[in-house]
Amino acid sequence: ELKVEQNPLFLSMQEGKNYTIYCNYSTTSDRLYWYRQDPGKSLESLFVLLSNGAVKQEGRLMASLDTKARLSTLHITAAVHDLSATYFCAVAWGGNQFYFGTGTSLTVIP
């Protein structure tokens, strides 16, 4: 079974600071996803990464993928309060099975 680990599980950061969330997975996959979930809400797709070295950026968030290391990162630049949420990475395996990490709960403090 594919395992997906995220760290840190909890992250409290001040506005304006930078930080990185890490996602490690145990088996080769051709697709990696990042999602955002606000309390009581569903998952919102942020990024889809398909190939080694892929980098995608949207606003203050940037995601990258290293398939050889089985590692993806979500980098937050100059955090703002609106980014407070839980962030999940997910790995596609066996065609259409998606395995999610346990999530990183991010709190941005003014």
Partner: protein, 114 residues
Amino acid sequence: GAGVSQSPRYKVAKRGQDVALRCDPISGHVSLFWYQQALGQGPEFLTYFQNEAQLDKSGLPSDRFFAERPEGSVSTLKIQRTQQEDSAVYLCASSLTGHAYEQYFGPGTRLTVT
């Protein structure tokens, strides 16, 4: 356009009751997924449909869980003889194609078994 919808949004069941959770995917989407999300955890895969065919049900935790999608659109997840450990948010997602490149999630149904 309309996204994935789920009903009910909240369900409280007494232990031993049967429940049925409904998912309306985005119109025309071929693939449909069910996930279980326990409090403080990531979603866990339950089952997957391509049109009306259930291609993977390996994530269903027991034979008390049953899912169907008889006409290839609306899907129902049924849980028989609910137990406390079934308490979770049940998420439905749909995808345009069979390859499920991108999934669109519904708001979820929060099931509480008392």
